[in-house]
């Protein structure tokens, strides 16, 4: 198995800047795009692919990525484009009749390991994959990105309980906790959603709490390994991160910017430093 080269945080920051620019470019062709939720998890997805996942020549031993928050798949698409798994043409044809990439990931497309999009499915699916890997005596791990909204689905907690019962220490989840949902801030709309960390720990998981835009924090927590325990990294993030007028504004969950807004957004992009 190929060990990761040392992760370069500055390179990651440069990549994330280019991802944001690329997604904004795509937003000018397609109106249906979950921009806010993609921007909140870009650093997480980049760290997983470039800093955590092992790649092997044997397909069976490659670590597996599952985008449980399917609506954030644009963050995965741009990373897969960077890695050459998806092509520029594939992304240029996003949500067009000529292409095959849609607003939610589809199993069978290059680099996509599960069809997601309906919230609350990814945790059980990932637990099943992780358990099957154990049955097959493989060291392969499963990396999952969840939205905080998915923690409002009972099915996520069902599966978390079972993942802990099955001692799935090959399951590493990252919660994109942007704290924002359609009706506003979760802490206002659903105050009893909190505390999250205590709830997760009480389900038998190892749980870390980090700034989800700082790659050194994400990487360090993602490397946690405790025998027989699944890992959850709560990544505190900002919805729409990187474009000031989009940050924490629910409307940017689904809207694409106008031509004028696009210019302002691109002009304002900066590297997000640790």
């Amino acid at each position: 198995m190929k060990k990761k080269d040392k992760f370069n945080h500055k390179d990651s920051q440069t990549r994330c800047l280019s991802y944001r620019k690329r997604i904004l470019e795509i937003s000018q062709k397609v109106s249906a795009l979950h921009l806010g939720g993609a921007f909140s998890c870009l650093e997480i997805v980049d760290c997983i692919y470039f800093g955590l996942m092992n790649e092997s020549k044997k397909k069976d031993e490659n670590d597996i990525f599952i985008m449980s928050k399917g609506h954030g798949c644009m963050s995965q698409y741009v990373v897969l484009e960077n890695k050459g798994i998806l092509t520029k043409k594939n992304l240029d044809e996003y949500c067009t009749a000529e292409g095959f990439l849609g607003c939610h990931p589809d199993l069978g497309n290059p680099g996509i390991n599960a069809s997601t999009g309906s919230l609350g499915h990814g945790m059980a699916l990932s637990a099943g994959v992780a358990h099957a890997l154990k049955i097959k005596n493989l060291q392969t791990r499963v990396f999952v990105v969840l939205s905080d909204g998915e923690l409002q689905e009972g099915s996520t907690w069902e599966a978390m309980m079972m993942a802990a019962n099955l001692n799935l220490d090959n399951l590493i989840c990252f919660l994109d906790h942007n704290g924002s949902q359609s009706f506003g801030k979760t802490k206002i709309t659903h105050p009893k959603f909190y505390p999250i960390k205590e709830k997760i720990k009480s389900f038998g998981w190892i749980c870390k709490n980090v700034n989800g835009h700082k790659t050194n924090d994400i990487l360090k927590s993602g490397k946690t390994k405790v025998k027989n325990k699944p890992i959850m990294v709560i990544c505190n993030t900002v919805k729409g991160k990187g474009v000031k007028f989009m940050e924490n504004k629910p409307i940017w969950h689904y809207r694409s910017p106008t031509a004028d807004e696009f210019k302002i957004a691109v002009k304002g992009l900066k590297k997000i430093k640790n």
Binding site: L107, A124, L125, S126, G128, A132, I135, E158, A159, M162
Partner: protein, 306 residues
């Protein structure tokens, strides 16, 4: 059927490492003790958590395993419906959902435990195959097919236990996707599936006794896909076709057959006997509850013109 299913899955599991069993903590799953002891990693009691049972099975199937999800039919299909639709059917994964004690079998447990519209619900989803074997032998063959041949999701409706042998003298072999003649007569055909095929035999005996006519008895164990050629044959060779179903009319086999007749411009006389579109708050034996829905020999005979 229940105990035999446990034996069958154990035997298949011995030969094929991909076979796994997921249950949702129901006592009948206790019959799977052999599988659980011999293959502890491939047996998962998911707890009373049907949604994650389906999701976990989907994840295992993504890794090349062939899971069976086993619980009481209502809980196997209705509670995790969206997981079945998205995780299994949308991704087209070879997972078999075994809906045990389907139809009215749990007559004294009430409507919460009676799956009277499961075939309609399961058939509505693209990629899904729907099976309803009538006796332990058919169940064995159906299960073996699910384990080794199926390329996508299957919903298999099973009875409970103690079903009589109805197929050891069958005329046709069992083949998924094809109707199967269990007995051959002329003029009248009785088509049914699942546990209630035994009522087709009772009815056939009574018709013989009263009218001296031998009926064909057909097990339509595959509800989806619909066997067009098989039904064409039945309709061409019998003037009257009686369909008996332990299922409501909406989305029933009867509806499919009638729609097929309309398409094909076939004008056979079709007598359809299904469950009523009604929940009965009634607690009696399985036979009592079937009678309440008009599914017994005397009620059926009253509505037939032979």
């Amino acid at each position: 059927m229940r105990d035999k299913f446990a034996d069958v899955i154990f035997e298949i599991g011995k030969k094929d490492k991909r076979i796994s069993a997921l249950v949702a903590d129901i006592s009948p799953a206790g019959s799977m003790v052999n599988f659980r002891k011999k293959f502890p990693k491939r047996f998962i009691n998911c707890g009373v958590a049907e949604q994650s049972m389906i999701g976990i099975a989907a994840g295992m199937a993504l890794q090349g395993l062939r899971p069976f999800c086993y619980t009481i039919a209502t809980f196997a299909l209705y509670r995790p419906f969206e997981m079945i639709r998205v995780d299994l059917c949308y991704q087209n994964l070879p997972v078999t959902i075994v809906g045990m004690g389907a139809g009215l079998i749990y007559s004294t447990l009430g409507g919460t435990h009676q799956s009277i519209e499961d075939l309609a619900v399961a058939s509505a989803i693209p990629n899904m195959t729907v099976l309803a074997p009538c006796d332990p032998n058919e169940m064995k063959l159906a299960t073996e097919w699910c384990a080794t041949k199926s390329n996508g999701p299957v919903y298999m409706r099973l009875g409970k236990k103690g079903e009589p042998d109805l197929t050891s003298k069958a005329i046709d072999k069992f083949e998924v996707g094809k109707i199967r003649y269990l007995e051959k007569g002329n003029e009248i055909a009785i088509v049914s599936y699942g546990t209630i095929v035994s009522l087709a035999f009772e009815l056939s005996r009574k018709i013989k006794e009263l009218h001296d006519k031998k009926c064909s008895i057909i097990s339509s164990h595959t509800i989806k896909p619909f066997d067009k050629n098989g039904f064409k044959n039945i309709l061409n060779n019998h003037k009257k076709v009686i369909i008996i179903e332990e299922h409501v009319k909406n989305g029933s086999l009867s509806d499919k057959v009638k729609s097929f007749c309309h398409e094909q411009k076939i004008n056979n006389e079709i007598f359809s006997f299904t469950l009523k579109d009604q929940f009965y708050h009634f607690y009696g034996s399985y036979k009592d509850l079937l009678s309440k829905h008009g599914l017994d020999v005397s009620s059926i005979l009253k509505k037939l013109s032979i």
